[in-house]
Amino acid sequence: MSVTDDLRRIARELLESGRVTRVIGYEEGRRGQVRPLVARTVEEAGRLLFDERCARNLALYLLDFKPQGEEEPPAVAVVLKPCDARALNVLVLENQVRREKVYVLGVACPGIPGKPACASCTERIPPTFDLLLGKPEPPPAPAGPDDLSRLLALSPEERRRFWAEQFRRCIRCYACRQVCPMCYCEVCIAEKLDPPWESIAIAPSENEFYHVLRAYHLIGRCIECGECERVCPMGIPVFLYQRYLAEEVRQTFGFRAGMDAETPAPFMTFRKEELEDLP
């Protein structure tokens, strides 16, 4: 039986038994694409699938099921690849999602062709799941020098010019932010007016502010799914800066976001003796 067949069977059972009220997964879309589906009925569960086109990080949609006031949040099931499951752990650590309200249909991930994050990923099994679908395969060989190494090899001047070009192209559609499960602020600082952080202008300086903001607020929280870069209509390599900072966090603090839901992130803690070579 394929992963898709198992997935449909289990989703039907979960909905029928009332264990969950929704199953968040992927379905066949139009024009050869897959798309997210929030299945409510047994009939809809029959449309779920999982294959190598399933790139979107579905942990994002768990934020739609946060408790409203005194109500108990509904129980939902969700299909999560390893990177997506790391996002769930971060959301649990940050008290945005109650783990016991989520039934995780983990998928042993074969890697998604064309997804930049997969080239350097070593996770084959989600760090958290209630049920595992598919068979884990050994991780791929580490990739050779890539865009990030090329960027770091440039002089600071050249790097600034490279990013200035990107900030010219950026239209602040915020797709990179909207697709990220970790960006759940009610009002983003980039859009906060009265008083304004940055102006409404869609221009290189303001775009620079926004990308620095995205980079900084994801430090110690980015789980490196790379969806931010995949959704950018202008082809801006936004995953470059997230990946770089995630690597810095790994090297400086030995921390990787989302490997569990308990270990505090670097910005939540400190050590008295560290980073003594400042300023």
Partner: protein, 142 residues
């Protein structure tokens, strides 16, 4: 006319701001380029405040807090240290001249040190010249 850098300083109320006061009452001289903003603790300083200062035309931003171990709120400056260290890495990746942003420690009794740190930073930023915006870089390329 010589370039006069615009420096914004975030000084914590308990240590560095008092140190700045002491520099003043001791009649110590230091460059007038710094505009001081008093905050309760260096741990309050979100690096995005520095980015906002740059967006508004600052050429350099300095954050001054209590020495590690002496924070009035016990831990604030430890958090500041981690945040601002990683913020430096971020500035580096974007080619944003991390020398325009500094975190340092000045205690309430260190009036002389305050004057020295500010003078040193002002000189550093003066040597770097005015901060260039991405628009200016793109304009140059045409």
């Amino acid at each position: 006319m010589e370039f006069e850098p615009r420096i914004v300083g975030f000084l914590c109320n308990w240590c560095s701001y008092a140190g700045a006061d002491l520099a003043g009452t001791s009649r110590l001289s230091y460059p007038p380029n710094i505009r001081i903003i008093r905050v309760p603790c260096s741990g309050r300083v979100d690096p995005m405040l520095a980015m906002k200062a740059f967006l508004e035309g600052a050429d350099g931003v300095i954050v001054l807090g209590c020495h590690p171990g002496d924070c009035h709120y016990s831990e604030g400056n430890y958090h500041a240290r981690r945040r601002l260290h990683l913020f430096h890495r971020l500035l580096e990746l974007f080619g944003l001249e991390k020398e325009r942003f500094r975190l340092d420690w000045v205690s309430a009794s260190e009036g002389v040190r305050f004057a020295e740190v500010v003078a040193g930073f002002t000189e550093q930023v003066r040597r770097l010249g005015p901060r260039v915006r991405p628009e200016d870089i793109l304009e140059r390329q045409r």
